[in-house]
Symmetry: C2
Subunit: 347 residues, 2 copies
């Protein structure tokens, strides 16, 4: 599995005096790269006899029938559903799966990619660490074996990417509240905006805008971390306002559960006085009373599709596939936004 | 990492006409094996120049600083806490961790052990698949690298084992209900008794016995699967009895949450009419109202300790450590068994 004798992206980048990322994207015909740069990369790669990904793949003889999965946090509920989807689909196709964690640390992520490469896995499924700014090891991996990004992705990596349509999902969640007659809708997002939080915030703003509701900065709440405590604390802040909101959209269920706990403690009627909508469809969303209206993210399906695209690349010797697949979500309406019956008949 | 030229446990077993398990346990001086057999194994292993584990370990030159973890179900909440504990301790010690899943299938488990061996991990942490009856691949692995069992264990494998003291924990849960004045305590256990379910049932019986409470077969309920639905269904059955129980001990939180849901729907006062105690301290146990009294299983700690014992074996060339470590649990008293205040001040 050593690539000491082959020209790597790194060598090309050094020869050209540009970043590995630029070389990689130029070779993948990425729109961000100028035609001039593409021509230079093309010339140098031919001169140095660079063997691109697609051919290198054909040369790999030793198949391990094992794929590596790297995720930011293995113990996160949604991540567990992603892994389940990957494993199910892998098993159907006779592949083994080994999983590791980056702990949202890009150095640990690079280390785990190296480990996966040393082990000679047939391909890698990667959900990016939040802090990733250096893509070298990812691009190096992409150069020697198939790699597909899922859930946490970046346009800086020229490969197939499987994502949730967060913006659209948030738009529909807020639209649902507006259609129920809510006029003063708060949002609880992350203060250090993750990619997902920012996309959901964007969907929130688009919904208000579409329905001509003015954005009120005072009810755009920032959680310093994702926890029930934060949801509870920010609700206490909102309840102390002169003009309290009549609905809260929390960008994740954990925060929304904290909101419901705080409203219950303050004997605020849900959804009549204040409606609550979350995001994720965690198991907790049907344990809390009233049950939480939320966005169902089909983690199993995302994992399944990510594996399928990876397998296609593992099997194919001819062509680098490179597209973004957006998976649609579902809005699950429950009692926290719209009470359908007074007696609980379901679990 | 090939062991083609070395005498394996398998060869010894064949030569001796006994099982691999017997050879392995004889070499580990296991009390189940007769002295006569031990002497025979000793003679043959010397004659064939068998290199036992402890020496083989010293010969391993290529360290990957990676350990393999195999668990029945990676997406299970408690398993996630175990993995987290392992990963934290591994990181402190400069080790990488790769995780895989057996799906409670012994063939898949053997396959993943082979994969870990091919990858040349420095050691393996294994939580056994429920169905495991054939231990050959496990014993083979134990022959070539350190292996520690955790959570789901078996006396058939002569190695260090890290477990929860399930029986003791269940005893204390039921004792707590008795001390609160409850006299008719039901249990919901698994119909296809897993090792954990059986140990908890044993603790339940011991508590009733200790406090001279007669066992009533009609309130020993069997769940066909671990789900909220099952907890709910079995509660409906109990509520239809002439002589309903005044407390329910469910062997896992998921079942207990179903019990609370059913009692809430039937407007039964918890804990006055019926108290409920679970087992696991899942996140759900503080989301449900009333909050669930439960046994906290310190998954992080078990993972941490399992890694430490494995590391000790990886580093040691001199001696095969082989002991069982029982981790104590804590009873967390909440409103489902004993209401301390009418207002919820905590999350």
């Amino acid at each position: 599995m050593s690539n000491k004798n082959v020209v790597t992206l790194k060598k090309l980048a050094k020869e050209l005096g540009v970043s590995i990322s630029t070389v990689s994207r130029a070779l993948a015909n990425h729109p961000d790269i100028s035609n001039e740069t593409k021509a230079r990369v093309d010339e140098v790669s031919k001169r140095l006899n660079y063997i691109p990904n697609l051919f290198a793949k054909g040369f790999r003889s030793h198949k391990t029938y094992t794929i590596g999965v790297i995720v930011p946090d293995i113990s996160h509920y949604f991540t567990a559903t992603l892994i389940k989807g990957i494993m199910q689909e892998a098993e159907i196709n006779g592949y083994k799966v080994i999983v590791s964690e980056s702990k949202n640390n890009e150095y640990k992520q690079a280390e785990m990619l190296q480990t996966m490469n040393q082990f000679g896995v047939d391909g890698v499924l990667l959900s990016l660490a939040r802090t990733t700014t250096n893509f070298d090891e990812i691009l190096n991996t992409l150069n020697i074996r198939p790699l597909v990004l899922f859930d946490k992705v970046s346009t800086k990596v020229p490969c197939t990417q499987i994502v949730i349509d967060d913006e659209d999902a948030a738009f529909r969640a807020v639209e649902h509240l507006i259609q129920l007659g809510k006029k003063r809708i708060a949002i609880i997002k992350e203060s250090e905006g993750s990619f997902n939080s920012e996309m959901r915030y964007k969907g929130y703003l688009r919904a208000l805008n579409t329905y001509k509701i003015e954005v009120d900065e005072s009810i755009i709440m920032n959680a310093v971390e994702i926890s029930m405590q934060q949801g509870k604390r920010l609700t206490t802040v909102m309840l102390s306002m002169k003009n309290t909101p009549d609905a809260v959209f929390a960008i994740t269920d954990t925060l929304a559960i904290g909101v419901i706990k705080a409203l219950n403690n303050n004997k605020i009627s849900i959804p009549d006085e204040i409606a609550v909508v979350g995001f994720s469809n965690n198991i907790s969303s049907i344990i809390i009373e009233p049950k939480l209206t939320t966005i169902d993210q089909p983690g199993n399906k995302i994992g399944e599709i990510a594996f399928r695209y990876l397998l296609e690349e593992i099997k194919s010797d001819s062509k680098l596939i490179c597209k973004t697949v957006e998976i649609k979500t579902n809005l699950i309406v429950r009692d926290s936004s719209f009470r359908t019956a007074s007696i609980d008949i379901s679990l």
